[in-house]
Symmetry: C4
Subunit: 209 residues, 4 copies
């Protein structure tokens, strides 16, 4: 019958976690490269520099927003991996696809920071978040189907993980649609959704989202 | 007889894996730096931005292709390391050479993205893939000869690992030669080979490649 | 009653440490990107290059200063994590906030290097250090309140950790206020504070800081 | 008497290794950023691109040389850490200093690649290698004095580790002095020294270096 390469490849969850932490670490740090210090020629005194920094401040918004997004998905992936007893090559490849989408976040963020009022920029940003969610969802569905989940994890918890992704993505989609009003309403809504996931307020229905 | 430094150096497979994950993580994330957001001066409305992004889209092809390549070789290296009981300094150095070739991938990819129709660019890209395969093959051959492989790994599996690299490299070479027709045929063939290794369809002869 | 996602998310301290090491590693290495080699056009001989490098040398000061700062906070975070028995999602998010502030250090450093005599630049640099300390302090206070600290850690040690942050931040604040004289006095004072934390001289009152 | 913060800080060798692997991984990958693909305007056909790549090829020499240097010192640090039973904050800080010098390698390499015939550039490159060796030597000397070395490590091996650094640095110093003839003789000599440490030929006196 033969020993197929595919049966032994990609089983190491620790290495997958380490590669992920590397990619996330670099992506998070690259975001800041987009923040350029004011050019020396235009700065003749303290007031000029102060003014230049104030002008730069709005660029911090998409930057912090992306930091939250990437953080949310890092926590999400970590939570999944903790529930898995082992990996296989399909799970590894779904996760490499997930990392591909993670590395696109600095691009989407720079695009949104530059074109804050453009619906196209917001749509690209939303698409990026959607693909992050889709990859995590696919990874978890696959892991359940392939029996990779630890045997002591209750089915209820698995359902909670999946529901979480679907609810979050529905909220992000609502946020994206709000750009029909204008992009600032969209961004405000998305930031609120993210703050909810970051802070996780212990308020009944919010906590259960 | 004396205790030689060389006998104690480079034995730590965990650190080799961690360095590799660092290099792979950075290399994967750097790829996207090549994707630049459209310059503000030329964008006067949503339609302009939409058009600019569509123009950018073809650059995603070599980017995704390289992400797959790097992913394939990351899985390949991980699979090897999992089979090793321990390392030594020769194995470490072959792997550092492997990482050197990994860090060249962003260059080869940018070159191919910029000169998509040039056979020279495709040849450089293929050479990079070839060197990745050659380094992994050398690492495994050496590990077998030096008795670094875990004792419970069947010889059949070792043969499968080596055969895998030779078959893959033969296919990549065929892809490279196809640039005699034109570079798009080459790229399409290479992408198909990579998709096969990523998806690993359970179709008889494909699965056994 | 239901299994909430929030109860299982973000428990993995090892992954938090790995993400942190990734972010710190990239941030430390990015600092040097600010050091540009002299442009070829202006260099006609050994003397020109020697002169150009001497001109570049002062830029090394904020660079080394930031390396010390980032190193101090890396040691600080590591020391905390070693005292924790486990994590939870709030602790994880405070630490992600901490990493956000870490990634801003290359920006603050470049700003200070470019505008060494500007109080605004020094204030931004100090604010960045202050936020680093505030995040670490919040993380530790939270961990104590939430019972995440290992049971064998004496309360005295916890108090020492908190006191350490407060004393250090008070000294940095004094350093910042000294910019009312001029920024070089500030920088000299801050470097002395940092050297004290790096070298940790076993001199009575200094050691106890 | 009190529990001093300094007694519990910086004890985690695993985190030190992880930070190091992060810094090394980024530094190794950044080297390649110096290799720029040929500018499109000047390329009108396959022959132009081929020619442009040939012109670029000499830049690969300092790049590969630095990859070897960084690899040698990564193996050196790893070998040391494997011999240590535990760390302390002084050892941690010597290693952070070591990492500072590692992050300067991309700068020194770019400088040498740009000014291949300048003795000043070679002197800077050599100084960087010297500081790497000095930091590793200091770390090991300190670890021995502070009793951080595993008890089953024979004194003979410790002496071998120290001798190794001194012999290597002497050879690098000879290489640097050879720039009095010209820089190419220096570079050739340094590359030969590095190849000896990479390949570790089992030839009597070379092997014992």
């Amino acid at each position: 019958m033969g020993l197929h390469y595919n049966l032994v490849a990609g089983k190491n969850l620790d290495r997958l976690a380490a590669l992920s932490d590397g990619v996330f670490g670099v992506a998070l740090t690259l975001l800041v490269l987009d923040l350029r210090i004011p050019v020396a020629e235009s700065i003749h005194g303290e007031a000029d520099l102060w003014h230049a920094l104030l002008t730069l401040a709005p660029r911090l918004i998409p930057y912090v927003m992306t930091f939250m997004t990437v953080g949310i998905f890092w926590v999400g992936q970590q939570t999944q991996l903790n529930l898995f007893a082992r990996g296989d090559r399909t799970l590894t490849w779904i996760n490499i696809g997930f990392l591909l989408v993670v590395t696109l976040m600095p691009f989407s963020t720079a695009l949104l920071a530059q074109y804050l009022t453009f619906r196209v920029a917001l749509a690209v940003y939303w698409l990026n978040i959607f693909l992050l969610g889709a990859a995590l969802y696919a990874a978890f569905k696959y892991a359940r189907a392939a029996g990779l989940i630890k045997t002591d994890v209750p089915a209820q918890l698995c359902t909670a993980v999946e529901r979480r992704i679907i609810v979050a993505q529905s909220l992000y989609a609502v946020g994206a649609v709000l750009c029909l009003i204008n992009t600032f309403v969209s961004i405000a809504f998305i930031v609120l959704v993210q703050l909810n996931y970051v802070v996780a307020p212990r308020i009944g229905w919010l906590y259960r989202l």
